[in-house]
């Protein structure tokens, strides 16, 4: 184990010498808008770059997730997956052109997930420069339809249709460097639509206001008593509604997530919220529709799982302090299919989900060395013969 660990600090300088190519990939990919369900142009560029870097196979799966494969030296070894989601929260109308300064890159989506995707397509060239080969095939997967209503469809489809076993996986996120996700909470992501009829013949003496109705729903959700164990929470994440300042809102939408490390608790909170919505709908005589956008189960590796232990060792070797937390992302789907996996961040930055998101350039090189260290750990067999708890 120490053998590959000792090489990691030396990798950082070599990776830094490829700064131009790495940043070029981040910028070329990040500057193409890729809102969820509209990732086609970014997918094409992803494939184009992988082909240019001469991966052994470059294709899309049946769901149009772009994939590059670097062939391993031993056919008997299952492949290692390296995954980054392609989609962003930003629409096509947002300026995606990045600004590069001496030690930073700024622009929409850079922290979620342009750096991650840029690194993913740079890996073939980085492996070549570091003279690295692996026993396993390395599958570089840019997955589509991950965020929000995308409901992780890309990764779900990719894993569902992947015929052979998978040895282990690393999910790449732009930030923050030092994150180590190895467990995923159970989660239900929902949207409530409130629509009030605009017909003049409606029964209401006073028209209800869709925004105020949803406000009432929010107030009742906030009154729910949530346990500290199992750890649980409801996040009110999105609202929209109305048309003009001086006109009653006839429609409004509320988006929220229920998260807990117990699937049973997630379900129980969901049922309580469903009752609140039905009650409010009845009381205000309005149409309230509850839609479930995403549902993932709680799953985890234990802290003493060899992959987690090896990842911690890799990070410590690079003077990184691991910070753990749950992650409801590609990791959930990988773990739920019994594939040992971790999610790692590449660099530090500010203004996470804002248009002026900024990442630091220098930490990127250590962030990449860390990813390579974990791939080497998996290739050395740390995930072999261990099942998930």
């Amino acid at each position: 184990m120490a053998d590959y660990l000792d090489k990691l600090p030396g990798f950082v300088d070599t990776i830094r010498s490829m700064k131009e190519t790495i940043i070029t990939n981040i910028v070329l990919i990040g500057q193409i808008p890729a809102p969820t369900f509209n990732e086609k142009r970014r997918t094409s560029l992803f494939m184009e770059r992988l082909a240019e870097f001469q991966v052994d196979e470059c294709t899309t799966d049946g769901y149009r997730n772009p994939i590059g494969i670097i062939k391993g030296t031993r056919e008997s070894k299952p492949p290692i997956f390296v995954v980054a989601h392609l989609d962003t929260i930003w629409g096509k109308d947002i300026d995606h052109y990045y600004t590069i300064q001496e030690n930073s890159i700024t622009g929409a989506g850079i922290m979620d997930n342009s750096v991650g995707v840029g690194i993913l397509v740079s890996l073939p060239e980085i492996f070549r420069k570091l003279n690295l080969s692996f026993e396993s095939d390395i599958v570089l997967a840019g997955v589509i339809q991950s965020l929000g209503k995308g409901n992780l469809r890309g990764i779900r489809h990719l894993l569902k249709t992947w015929a052979s076993p998978i040895r282990g996986a690393v999910c790449i996120e732009s930030a923050p460097l030092g994150r180590l996700n190895y467990y995923a909470d159970g989660m239900i992501r929902c949207e409530v639509d409130c629509n009030i009829s605009t017909d003049s013949g409606s029964d209401h003496k006073f028209k209800p206001n869709a925004i105020l109705v949803l406000n009432e729903v929010i107030n009742q959700i906030l009154k729910l008593r949530l346990p500290q164990k199992p750890r649980s929470r409801v996040i009110i994440g999105k609202t929209s509604g109305g048309h003009m300042h001086g006109v009653i809102a006839y429609d409004a939408t509320l988006g929220f997530e229920i998260q807990s490390n117990s699937d049973k608790m997630v379900r129980s909170i969901f049922n309580s919220i469903k009752d609140i919505i039905e009650g409010t709908s009845h009381e205000y005589e309005v149409d309230l529709k509850l839609k479930t956008l995403s549902n993932i189960h709680a799953t985890k590796l234990t802290f003493n799982h060899p992959l987690v232990k090896s990842t911690v060792a890799v990070m410590k070797k690079l003077d990184l302090t691991p910070i753990s937390g749950p992650s409801e992302s590609e990791l959930s789907i990988l773990l739920s299919r019994n594939i040992p996996a971790v999610t790692l961040g590449i660099t530090r930055g500010d203004n996470y989900h804002q248009q002026n998101a900024t990442v630091e350039i220098e930490p990127i090189f250590k962030g990449i060395a860390q990813i390579i260290g974990v791939i080497m750990a998996i290739d050395n067999g740390v995930c072999d013969e261990h099942q998930l708890d």
Partner: protein, 339 residues
């Protein structure tokens, strides 16, 4: 008007995306290529341009030999950032310092000829937000692959559909359509085939650039076209569709001043060619009025229309590049090719 040029000498960047081929052909012809970026306060875009060009056309494919930044005295971090990303950075005033000093894009491009080592020079504006290495390789493609082509201009934007799955831009921006195209139509109808004569991205052989004068300001693009056309004809030129280029938008008053400089250049060229004769001297001030506290006040901009002579006439240049007094073989071959 014969429009065969637009059919023969108009390319799409995708025709030159085989970078292996370009690099091989460049090596076979033993060419040196310089990329020149004229700058003035471009700290937001300069790093991206240098970085992408260096990665794709120097590190990965040996197509460019150097990236030269010629700066007009930026007050932001343009020079610092450009240096940090590995470009050779020069202040225009420090190049040929004994000459009278001027400020302007044309001045930077002219002085770049003295600094750059390439047989081919690629000029790109430094404010391109959607920079991609195609901006350089597409301009180089025709120069490297076609022996008769010595000067290539970019065109982009404003797409229209032509036939199935094909789109092409129709023309240029406001100044192009309101000033240049009417002038070309009146005096040089053949040149209207150049779809975006004011595009700031072009490349050419040193032997062309060194043999023609450079206006120091906005008139540079127009004068290059007119002088190359007059000396060697349209057939040494080509244009390449770069798909899309995101500009920094300029207000109408700024475009007015740009138009003034272009008209000035154009009229001077016409006079030189003996095509027009003006009895009176032209003024060199652009006057625009502002309403200030209910009174109209003029804003007066002096636009002198200075021009640098052909670089080959500068003794220091002739010495540095060991230029003989007579025409070089390339000059002769260009003339022969156009006859």
């Amino acid at each position: 008007m014969n429009i065969s040029w637009i059919e023969k000498n108009t390319f799409h960047y995708s025709e030159f995306s085989d970078l292996h081929r370009l690099a091989d052909e460049k090596q076979r012809k033993n060419l040196k290529i310089s990329l020149c970026l004229p700058t003035l306060n471009e700290e937001k875009t300069i790093a991206k341009e240098i970085l992408i060009m260096k990665s794709e056309l120097m590190t990965r494919y040996p197509i460019l030999d150097e990236i030269v930044v010629v700066d007009s005295g930026s007050t932001d971090k343009t020079r610092e950032i450009a240096r940090a990303y590995g470009a050779d950075v020069f202040e225009a005033d420090h190049i040929l310092p004994d000459l009278e000093k001027f400020k302007g894009k044309g001045e930077n491009l002219w002085k770049a000829l003295y600094i750059a080592k390439g047989d081919i020079i690629v000029y790109l504006d430094a404010d391109i937000k959607n920079i991609h290495h195609r901006f350089a390789y597409a301009l180089l493609g025709p120069l490297i692959l076609y022996d008769n082509i010595k000067y290539v201009k970019a065109f982009y934007d404003r797409p229209i559909a032509i036939g199935k799955n094909k789109i092409r831009p129709t023309g240029g921006g406001r100044v192009t359509e309101l000033v240049i195209r009417p002038l070309f139509s009146l005096f040089f109808p053949e040149l209207t085939q150049i779809l975006q004569p004011l595009s700031g991205e072009y490349a050419g052989y040193r032997e062309l650039f060194e043999a023609i004068p450079f206006p120091i300001g906005y008139g540079i693009e127009t004068s290059l076209i007119l002088d190359i056309y007059e000396k060697w004809g349209l057939d040494v030129m080509a244009q390449v569709d770069l798909d899309k280029r995101i500009h920094r938008n300029q207000d109408t008053r700024a475009l007015g001043r740009m138009s003034f400089a272009i008209l000035q250049t154009f009229i001077n060229r016409k006079k030189k060619l003996g095509l027009v004769d003006y009895k009176e001297k032209l003024y060199n001030e652009m006057i625009q009025f502002n309403l200030v506290k209910n009174k109209f006040k003029p804003d007066i901009y002096e636009i002198k229309g200075h021009e640098r002579p052909p670089m080959i006439e500068v003794p220091a240049y002739r010495e540095k590049f060991k230029k003989p007094d007579e025409l070089t073989p390339l000059h002769e071959s260009i003339v022969e090719a156009t006859l």
